[in-house]
Every structure is written in structure tokens, then in C-alpha cells.
Chain length 194, copies 2
Amino acid sequence: MLEKLIEHIKKFLPIAEEDVPVVLSFFQEATVKKKENVQEADKVCKQHYFVTKGCLRMFFVNEKGIEQTTYFALENWWITDYLSFQTGQPAEYTIQAIEPSEVISISAEKQEALLQQFPQMERYFRIIFQRSTAAAQRRLKLLYQLTREELYLAFSKQYPEFVQRIPQYLLASFLGFTPEYLSELRKKMVLKQV
Amino acid sequence: MLEKLIEHIKKFLPIAEEDVPVVLSFFQEATVKKKENVQEADKVCKQHYFVTKGCLRMFFVNEKGIEQTTYFALENWWITDYLSFQTGQPAEYTIQAIEPSEVISISAEKQEALLQQFPQMERYFRIIFQRSTAAAQRRLKLLYQLTREELYLAFSKQYPEFVQRIPQYLLASFLGFTPEYLSELRKKMVLKQV
DNA sequence: CGGATCGTTGATCAACTTCAACGGTCGTGG
DNA sequence: CCACGACCGTTGAAGTTGATCAACGATCCG
């Protein structure tokens, strides 16, 4: 399973075979059950997670007590509450598996130690975060320019298999509307196709 | 003016004095007039901008022909259309000065060359992008959890001087609503205070 | 001084939420 | 293996939020 991470790193930079076990020694593996939290809100987020199997979601609980999902992480995606991870403040987000999953993680301290010992890993994380920044810009553009209905269409088109894979109420939350409204949208779309 | 960039880099890592001029030789300076574009939509975004003075905004034009502003960049902030910058595709965003400004910039090619020659700069950009990722998470949380009115209040509270500094229609656009509605919100708030 | 730009106002309208209720399905315990 | 409860998706009515459009005043700047 750790192999998955090495493969991912190798996509972005060369890494000497003899360094592989040393690099990997900074990380730990975990199996996560469905609905299990890897990170609880209000606790400091100590780990940075790399998903090797399954799917995680990140959510916060709003004033009405509703879980608002804002991120999903699939295989080969990094995820964490970066604000808490960086500053050591309590996290605002909970991170939960929505399927039986497998993750690799590294603590903030170990990540820093890894970067000290293997400065070339700065490049790996620089690229990861640069891509994340680009993805955030793209997502924000969609959020600003599309109606909820168009958002649903765009997302369904880009991730058709994923839409099948997750419960509708999570998708509705992620897209920023209610499950009832998603239900209405789906009905409308079926009618149009007939 | 280039001094501002060096100061910023030094906040995150040590840099030998003799390296300073070499590092700086990768960058270029520019003065930008109010309303001048440093980046046009549909052209490939070749530069990564660091603002040393003034303020830039990033926007796209939606289907109704309205300029939708999604980012501001103040002093010591990096900004660009990262998707275009990374992939070489045409940009979706325009980047424009909203005040007379001064920027330092570096092309994608030169940034790569800089990182090859000074690998410690990977750390600098890793930190910049990691913070940017954290900021994006924070912003997304606010967008999902607050009403438009609360967004305006929160933003006014966090950046009171900035709200004074920019035209209201830009602020309304950034917060995701119309200038007319912002006007209504402001009226409502004044009435409450009386 | 004159035109363009910006903020405001009010009426109407569309998008989306809220709430309550119902039916289907899935998983768990007996 | 069945029965029960919890969870999930759906439906429809009523209510909010915020958009749209058109018009007007103020201000800025050349």
C-alpha cells in the first residue's frame, strides 16, 4: 500500500531506490471503516492524509446542525484541514471515510523532518500544493458562474461514476444545495430526456 | 522594489547574500496603471505575479457579459491563473490592476530554471502554495456556511480598510451578489445601528 | 461644463429552502 | 430468516433570499 505513495511521488520526481524505505519510514498506514472519522472537528489536525483506497470526505457542522461536505478525496489525493495542520489550532473540519478506505498519513512534525532530510521532497509537495491551488481556482470559478442546476450537470458529466458511488445527500451538500432540491433537479432532467 | 520579494522570501528561509542578485535576475519588475491588464483572458498566462504595491484583481466574464471578480491580491501576495500557468492552456481569467500598482513577475520557464538552480526555493513556493491551499479551504467554508449578508459582515470586519479602498461593485462581485443587493444590505445595516 | 461611472431605489420575478409527510430499502437483532 | 427501525430519496406547498430591470442622483474626471 505504501507502494502507491512511492508511485505517486515518482510521477513528479526521481527518487533513489535506497532512499525509498527511509522516506516511507516517516509515514504510517491505516485502514478506515466506513463512517469512521480520521479527524474530529475541534481537535488539532495532526496528520496529512494520502488516500490509497476508498474515499474520504471533509465536512463541518453548520449552525443548523447540518453536516456540510466541502471536499471529497479519492485514491491518490491528499487531504487534511490545512489551517489546523499548519497552525496547530483546533480543526473546523471533520474528515470521515464514506467507504471502507486505506490511507497513508504523516504528522506535521514528521513532514517537516522528512523535508529537512530529503529536501527534494519539497518539490513533491510544492507540486501537490500548486495543483491544489489551481484546482481551487477552477472550483471557485464554477461556483461563481454556474447555477446549482448547471453545477450538478457539470459535476455529473465530469465524474459520472463517482455520482453513482456516493449517496445523493452528500452530493447535494457538496454542490451547495439541499437533497430535496437535487431530487427535483433529477426529476426535471429525467422528464426532459423522455 | 525587488527588495520586497527578498524580504518576503527571507520570512520563510535563509538566503545567502551572494545569491540574492542571482535569484533576483530571474524576475522582472513592472509598473501597472489603474485598469491595466497584466493578463488577458484567452491568452496563455505566462507570468506568476507578486504584488509589491497597489492591488490587483482576477476576474472572468460570465455568460451575461458581467465581470465576475474572484480574487484580490494585495501587497506581498502572489497571483496568477494557475491552470493556464501550469498547463499552457489559454487563461480563463483576466488579471487587472484596480489601483496604480507595482508587480514583480516570473515566467513559468524561469520559475522552473530558478527552482533547478536554487532547489531551496522549492521550499519557498511549497510554503506559499500550502498557505494558499489553507486559505482556499477557509474561504470555501465561509462561502458554504454564511449567507450573503453574513459574508459581507465577516469580510467588512476582517478587512475594514480594504472595503473602503475598493469600489462597491467589485466587492459585491467578489462576495457573489449584485451591487444592488449590496446597496440594500448597507441600508439595512445603517438603519439597525440608528 | 459635460459625459461617463457608480451607488441607490423600488417593483417584479426566479431560484432555492423549509417543513412535513410518505414509501422503499438496507442492515441488524431476535 | 423474518421483522423492525433507521436511513434515504421523493413529493408538494409555502416561504425567503437574492436577481433583474429600469430609472434617478451624485460624483468624479477630463
